[in-house]
């Protein structure tokens, strides 16, 4: 028994215009200052005006949103009393919107209490619309929430199936001018979602198709989107790929690259997509022996010919590295700018965080502490995993 959750997805050119047809009185827009500066909030506001809704803007979400930011936004939400919440931005803004929504509906709760077991009974006060402005996180179609506990320097994986947005608007207009670096970072996030969603121990028939398609779209279109941001086809297909990957991994789960990447993000503040994308080939190599056939499926789907499933694992890891290199992503922690001293000082915390991450145990091969430490050392040095 399992579930497949999805919002209504409105996608393609002019998808944003769907917003003009929503019914309600007040919308609360959760976003960040940069998104507001880029004029995206104005684009949303124009549609809300057409729909006859008042709106209030919370443009204070930071990268890796903190528990404190979520509490602050929820308080403003309670004062404004919206019947629609709009998460506009990358994963940080959308995840913050999801968490604020819960606290708005349930002022008695704290974010850490949001979990997939206890029913939340949302939608008494408001519904959620998500509008991604990057092509990567898939947060617009997932119910997971990643927040950061600043005091403990730790990312918290929270969420309930009820957190799922009612509508996701996937309009390529929002990514048309995305800088190459962010396109690359977030694109690697999408690829990691797609590959992990297919190879995690919770994989299932409903997620397999989306994961395979998203993997192929990313390999095909991410280099083009990074190389030439005006390539409209590449932009739109990558935007779709990220959402499709979100559907895939959001209904199975992400795995070890995310556990390791979350830890890197919390300790070194490496952008999420860059962090998980960096660890992905290492985790493919490590888990490959336990899930070789499924990695071979992916390899075959993206056009890799291999003599055996084991060879397919290695060739797929190589292809991920080639993609990362072609879009100027770091292949090691050294290349990501981490010094040897910083790395050694942080290693115990990196391992501890990853071990506590729920994504770790659903990996096809679950590392112990010593193996995790070794994996981080290999990722630091840029050495393919051979154990």
């Amino acid at each position: 028994m399992w579930y497949f959750n999805s919002p209504l997805i409105v996608f393609g050119e002019d998808a944003l215009s769907e917003l003009a047809s929503i019914e309600g009185e007040r919308a609360f827009i959760v976003t960040d200052a940069n998104i507001a500066r880029l004029g995206f909030v104005d684009m949303v506001a124009e549609q809300l005006d057409a729909a006859g809704l008042q709106y209030q803007i919370f443009a204070e979400v930071e990268p890796d949103p903190s528990l404190e930011t979520v509490k602050r936004g929820a308080e403003q939400m309670r004062q404004f009393a919206p019947d629609w919440i709009i998460g506009l931005g990358g994963g940080s803004s959308i995840d913050a919107a999801k968490a604020m929504w819960v606290l708005y509906e349930h002022p008695e709760m704290v974010p850490e209490e949001i979990n997939p077991v206890v029913p939340l009974k949302l939608r008494e006060k408001a519904r959620l619309i998500t509008i991604p402005t990057t092509s990567g996180t898939g947060a617009e179609v997932t119910w997971g929430i990643v927040l950061t506990d600043m005091q403990e320097q730790r990312k918290l994986a929270l969420g309930s199936r009820e957190n799922m947005a009612d509508m996701a608007i996937v309009d390529p207009a929002f990514v048309a001018k995305l800088p190459p670096q962010i396109t690359a970072d977030t694109g690697m996030d999408a690829l990691t979602h797609a590959i992990e969603g297919y190879t995690v121990t919770w994989h299932n028939d409903f997620c397999d198709g989306p994961c395979l398609i998203a993997t192929k779209l990313t390999f095909d279109y991410l280099p083009r989107a990074v190389a030439d941001g005006t390539d409209e086809e590449a932009r739109e297909r990558m935007h779709n790929a990220a959402t499709i990957a979100g559907l895939g991994f959001g209904n199975s789960l992400a795995a070890m690259a995310h556990a390791m990447g979350h830890s890197l993000g919390a300790v070194f503040h490496i952008p999420h997509g860059r962090a998980v994308g960096l660890t992905l080939p290492y985790t493919v190599e490590f888990t490959g022996e336990a899930m070789a056939e499924r990695y071979a499926d992916i390899a075959r789907f993206v056009g890799i010919s291999a003599a055996s499933p084991q060879e397919a694992v290695q060739l797929l890891a190589n292809k991920i590295r080639e993609l990362a290199k072609s879009i100027k992503q770091p292949l090691s922690l050294q290349e990501a700018g981490i010094s040897k001293e910083q790395f050694e000082a942080a290693l115990p915390k990196l391992v501890e965080n990853a071990e506590c991450d729920a994504c770790l145990v659903v990996s096809a091969r679950c590392p112990d502490s010593a193996e995790l430490e070794r994996l981080y050392r290999y990722a630091f040095a840029g050495k393919p995993v051979d154990f």
Binding site: M1, N115, P116, V117, R161, W202, E355
Partner: protein
């Protein structure tokens, strides 16, 4: 073979836990005791209440209780025997089981979600116990 929910089964589980380096490592910071309850149904006329006190990678106490009031554990997980069977056979991930309400949890889910690796190793220990079922 030990009948699920018998003192013998529970003692075998406690022994497996205390002999597992993997569990000791994964649960080294865990502090919390449990009721694992087999709900009535089929050949099980009354609920079976198994108590486990798990502390820093060890099982400090294991016993079958006649009534829920016998102890006051931090966590209570209850399920039908068929669901426990699937968990022990590793056909049902315990976290997935909780998310689909096949395993019903009372207690701090946040704490459980921080200890998913320990939960996985605990299931690994249960899998080692030769188990006979009531059905």
């Amino acid at each position: 073979m030990y009948l699920l929910g018998s003192e013998e089964w529970l003692n075998a589980l406690a022994e497996a836990i205390n002999n597992s380096p993997a569990y000791a490592e994964a649960a080294k910071t865990w502090e919390g005791d449990f009721y694992f309850i087999v709900e009535p149904g089929g050949n099980i006329k009354e609920e079976i209440i198994m108590y486990l006190d798990l502390w820093h990678g060890e099982c400090r106490e294991a016993c079958v209780c006649a009534e829920r009031s016998a102890k006051d554990p931090a966590f209570v997980i209850s399920a039908k025997e068929s669901s426990w069977h699937k968990v022990i056979d590793k056909k049902l991930d315990p976290i997935q089981g909780m998310m689909t309400r096949q395993l019903k949890l009372k207690g701090d889910m946040v704490k459980i979600m921080k200890a998913v690796k320990a939960a996985k190793e605990l299931v690994g220990c249960a899998t080692q116990v030769p188990t006979q079922y009531h059905e």
